[in-house]
């Protein structure tokens, strides 16, 4: 509607001043000047033949996917605030990473040994259980961190983290009980597999 209000559209009706005293005014005699550069660079037939709405619609051809719609927005701080730098801590970085790899690598011989030896040792079996618990906990923890970001779902994040901690503790107690009262995890799997 605003464009209709513009007196510039009426200029055909008005008589043009002879020596153009309006050189600095925003109304120009050539209408191309107000159009974006990309449109001016297009071939002439495209400009004249295709309606403007179609040309713009082509940009918005991608289907909107509302899988993760935007949350209620909050604007924190200003544009000039520096990015927050977390306090450096060895436990958050490389040590943690190395610990994870050592646990993962440790699982390989412990998994292969019962297959290769054909027998089992209660000690290696219990180490296998302990490493499985730690490995599983780390895996689930990284899933929770990835899929339940603090900024997006703080409550779900906290609840699932505590559920995981309780679950891991329960699993530890359960495996201890299974190792001490029953035949142990490797032997149980072997027997179930050949049942």
């Amino acid at each position: 509607m605003a464009s209709i209000m513009r007196p510039g559209l009426l200029r055909q009706a008005c008589t043009k001043p002879a020596a153009s005293p309006r050189m600095l005014s925003t109304i120009t005699t050539t209408s191309t000047i107000n159009r974006p550069l990309a449109q001016q660079l297009r071939p002439a037939f495209q400009r004249s033949v295709m309606p403007k709405s179609t040309r713009i619609a082509a940009f918005h051809a991608t289907q909107r996917n509302q899988l993760l719609p935007p949350l209620p927005q909050k604007i924190l701080g200003t544009v000039n605030d520096p990015a927050p730098v977390p306090n450096p801590d060895y436990a958050h970085g490389s040590y943690h990473w190395s610990f994870e790899r050592i646990v993962s690598a440790g699982l390989i011989p412990l998994t292969i040994a019962p297959f290769a030896a054909g027998s089992l040792n209660p000690l290696t079996d219990s180490i296998l259980c302990a490493l499985l618990v730690v490995h599983s906990h780390i895996g689930f923890e990284s899933c929770i961190i990835d899929y339940f970001p603090k900024a997006r779902v703080p409550l779900v994040r906290t609840i699932s983290m505590w559920a995981l901690r309780i679950g891991t503790l329960t699993l530890g107690v359960a495996l201890y009980s299974f190792e001490t009262n029953d035949v142990g995890i490797t032997e149980a799997v072997a027997r179930l597999w050949h049942a």
Partner: protein
Amino acid sequence: MASQRIFQLGLRRAAAPGLRVQPAGRMVQRRLAATEHASQNQAAEILAKQRIARPVSPHLSIYKPQITSVASSLNRITGITLSGALYIFGIAYLAAPYTGWHLETQSMVAAVAAWPMAVKMGVKAFFAFPFFFHSLNGVRHLAWDVGVGFKNQQVIRSGWAVVALTAVGSIYYTFIG
């Protein structure tokens, strides 16, 4: 376009120095839409509303499925399957004395032995495929962690090697072993 216009303006000035340029004539553009002052909070609210209407970035579906990405997500899915089963078993084992379930090895073996062959194989396949995939792909990940096999070609080849070995291993342990 602005530079062209300024150049034109310069030419005209040079041609007719007497002509006084009016900044804007009587046809000056008038904006008839009303504006109102918005406070800092109101402005932030308007901005927040506008941001909700922004287009959302496209999701995973715009990528072509490749062995690199598919194997990576399968690594996580298989890990969750195996660990999830372990957690469920552990919790059930602790709850068993109170719920009357029999989850000691002997009774479980007896129960499984009574299952039909197809069910047994189905359950074996359900655990064998994730187990082999996660174990073999885990070795691949550990190799990357020490900096081995990082070239694109190597990553693709090792990925398909893991798929092949997984198929062989799990089919063997499902039907024969």
